[in-house]
Symmetry: D2
Subunit: 338 residues, 4 copies
């Protein structure tokens, strides 16, 4: 349950309310949410407890979301959230295209993609610096070197940068260079990491775990939100099923389902979902049709020589074609690309 | 392996070729495919066997598809198939919308939907007469009564009719009234039924089994094709995953994957996939974006009182809105609705 | 809801009760269940309706199972069912081992396996005559020839025979030769077939669909039971998951779950589940530990040359070893093999 | 590829070999494995490269495992590993039962369970101190307080203690109190954590991710092994499927599959897999039948009041019964409980 407090209420009164809720074993916590102070409890209040809070004069309004994901819920915030990353607004009328290579491999590779992405109307740049790899013998990313290159690409193109962070101990390092922190699919329920990116107050891109229900995904987002960080964007990237032709099964119905359940913006990543270059364009258009706020697309100057995920990265020409196709779908969907 | 025979080859020569292939244990069968005669074998021929066939003068060309689904394969037929159902062409530039109630419940119910569907630009009418129900205690459909009503609705509206057939013994009965036979998800690997609808030479709508890989689906289609019935349309309707918010997970990536592997047209059924009224419109638009040849939509004058699947049927107003939205997506996708 | 009628109630009274229940739109049906007559309705009765039935004097007792699977439910019958197949009792203290080749391929192949199976303590013989194959180009079974060989093997060994039936039109043919009809995984929701094997009154082995929930499986069994055929045995054979090392994932927890929900006996088929010879013995022992009433094991004199499923069939020596190992586990599990 | 070096080879020679392999871009690394030094490369060597190494005199033998999981592979080490945790040997003839509450809740709760577990023949004590919970509003564990209680319980009973560690920054803290570090299902691909527990050299219990393939699981183990920590035990705890009656689907076939692929010991956790008290005993016996090296069982003095996972914890009487039943199965399986 969420108590939205009155704006002018004194701190002593808040403390009194907290003390009272603690006595009732409601495990209250306060959260600074945009320009308001919230009191969260772990279950609903009885009417007498509610009367007591009202008597104290702390209550502006009470929200009792049906989901376990309280702050993420549409019941708590009916308007869609807009998350600002640099000069880009995710969740606005603009369809946000995040483009870039799977891994940052070299200065030239990254800058070439970044400039093209900028020119073609992409809004943000992606690129892996720390790579979570199934095997310890696979390429693990260039680390801080890659972060520096990403920052340089941002300077040159003006595109804000998103990159993955793998552990709580690296959040500060990544936050120094990037504009948005990505929590990858394998870490969706790495709760320590979620808390750490929550505390950073940086914009967070939270990918769906490949085995995660939508309900669990929203509760993972809640770990970030409850730290007072409301800048969370969700990214559908495919779930694991029995089908073997595609790397994963892109669950596009997650887009309208999330629209119903949460106010958080939703991106779609057709590259990881399909694992196959020729499926990216149709699934990108499908994602726009389903109502996504944006797309995440892997682009590489020479995919066949990529150090990771070569089968699913577009080359520059394919990306240019994709952007044209998406533009017309965007406008029918009530969005604009630029 | 498929041998496309020369058009003017005499039957005695074909028989000699068959005899020879039989000796080689290649299990040959002949199939009348459109205006040609094909010889199919169960494995590739050696070069000496091939020489022998060439000497006989039967070979126009040899196709050796990589898939087990030989006749369904793009390797065999590179152009997309167009399946004619009455006056409707599935696989053409027109986006085919098949609309109608889950079950035929009454004359009034069906005609009301049929007339509206016709007026709004739908191409075909659907409606269940024989219903495959999880429980023997659930409504099992009106049977032949429903078939008669479907035929009447076709007379009144001109919309060709598709309805499900559940067993080999009923194929003739259903074929008497309907224009297209549907094989439902639960029967996708009911091989006796597949052979029976194959022999009927009627157009067949083959839904994907909820546990079927795309590979298995194409091999199921092959059971129909190998009877010489090339009028097969595939319909993606959601697969079973761990996600519980939606009834099934609509696998839209199946659309471009099928486009790559087969020449058969592909419809998408967002009603069964999502099981939820508010998800149908976004997923229908997504399906158009993914490149589907058409949509199958459940519409009911009064969904809440429907005898089956009430949560996933649109009412008439919702369907009208959906058709408008789809129209603009269709045109961007290079399709037209009427 | 199930009304167990009094034993001496006159048919006129039953008819009056049926008429009354029909008026109430309760869709009543009568079923002869062992030595009693049951009235089934599609929903619960109001207390006044119940009073009326009591006044008529038809009610011995009322059962209101919580599952949709009424007759299959433990709530209806608390004692475990014992299904007799020839001289074999499935669901008794004896662990029933059904052994035999995937497909019947020749007289010699079948008789060799049958004699060995008999000698080693197997209770029943299996062998496919009509094979449901993913591709139309794969071996489809020897049909009636195989049925005749199975009958001959039974004459020679005394082992009752189970074999699969694929379509309603073949039930009589298969029933002429076999002692038990198998409905395979792909046909678990082939409701026409379920009704047909129900009407035959023959013992039925109902395999779990590879994507079927336990709940759906029990409702499929209900289709057989509701025809008055109480001789149903369930067989877990693996479900489809994302794991690729094994052909399917054997869901052994289904055994105790079914024990809780239903009175029907449960076999386990580790051959199809694992698809791999070296996994059969450990999973057979695990199945005994989980409480299965029996096992279904594929055995072939020369697995590597088998016409179907060669990787998962044991050779005769491996089967002999397996039987020894199972014997000691059986006795710890309170069962005996012979 | 793994080069097992000769025991008496000088460090200068090793360095020369490393330099050479580096030139060849084989990304060599050295690992101290038990009493030998290994050189690992990221791919196979050409025969000329191999000759060069032989000339240097470093090679004792070369192993080229077929799996990506090199050190975990049976190809590398054919004998099963035995992992020592305190005085307990996992992978030996003794069936190791790890028992204890889901979460440590109080001194009394833990000690009561620990003493009973000891008395009944359990080998180790479990208990959650840091709990990974789906929702931030759920009980997150008592933290270091719980660790201290676990250490106290070990002092009193002599049972070694295993408990979960959630983040790299906590490895030292948990290692101070526990005898074995658990990496939970949600963290199976938390590669930072895997490296950290690898570096600790403590015994590690690596649970299978609920959507992890066996192949991915072994590669996750490889992250620990490649740090030179060979004390890894795997624990199957159920995978996520479409089935809803059970919390997860216990994949017991993983036990013999792992036996074939790896030398690492394997435990089975029927509590988390089934999520249901009455399913634990049958699945524990099944696990013994499948060949597991041990079991992990949740036990609580009063499960209904447990702060987490109350439905799946046994009470003390149920645990006592379970231990009796397991004892007889163990002996048939060639194991002993004490």
């Amino acid at each position: 349950l969420i108590v939205v407090t009155q704006k002018d209420v004194r701190i002593e009164i808040i403390n009194e309310a907290l003390g009272f809720l603690n006595e009732r074993e409601l495990q209250p916590r306060t959260i600074r949410w945009k320009n308001q102070l919230l009191l969260l409890t772990n279950r609903n209040l009885s009417s007498t407890d509610l009367d007591r809070l009202n008597d104290l004069g702390v209550v502006e309004r009470i929200v009792s979301p049906t989901q376990k994901a309280q702050l993420a819920s549409r019941d708590f915030q009916t308007d869609g959230s807009v998350v600002k990353v640099g000069n880009v607004s995710i969740g606005s009328q603009r369809l946000v295209v995040v483009a870039g290579p799977c891994s940052v491999e070299s200065r030239q590779q990254l800058l070439q993609v970044a400039h093209l992405a900028k020119r073609l109307g992409a809004s943000m740049l992606r690129g892996g610096a720390f790579k979570p790899r199934t095997s310890p013998y696979e390429f693990q990313g260039l680390g801080e070197t890659a972060l520096r290159l990403l920052a340089e690409a941002r300077e040159e193109t003006g595109l804000p940068v998103v990159t993955e962070v793998l552990e709580p101990g690296n959040v500060d390092l990544v936050a120094k260079y990037a504009d948005m922190l990505q929590v990858g699919a394998r870490n969706m329920q790495n709760f320590s990491l979620l808390r750490a990116v929550g505390k950073s107050k940086m914009p967070v891109l939270l990918k769906r775990g490949m085995m995660a229900t939508i309900d669990e995904w929203l509760q993972a987002a809640e770990y970030v939100l409850v730290e007072g960080n409301h800048n969370v964007v969700l990214c559908e990237r495919g779930i694991r099923t029995f089908e073997k032709v595609t790397r994963n099964t892109l669950d596009l119905s997650a887009v309208p389902v999330l629209r119903r359940l949460t106010h958080l913006p939703v991106l779609v990543d057709p590259s990881h979902a399909t694992g196959s270059r020729d499926l990216i364009a149709p699934m990108a258009k499908a994602a726009v049709g389903a109502g996504a706020d944006g797309l995440m697309i892997e682009v590489h100057p020479n995919p066949d020589s990529a150090l990771s995920d070569s089968a699913q990265q577009l080359d520059l020409g394919q990306f240019a074609t994709l952007m044209e196709e998406i533009e017309s779908f965007s406008s029918v969907a009530g969005r604009r690309l630029r």
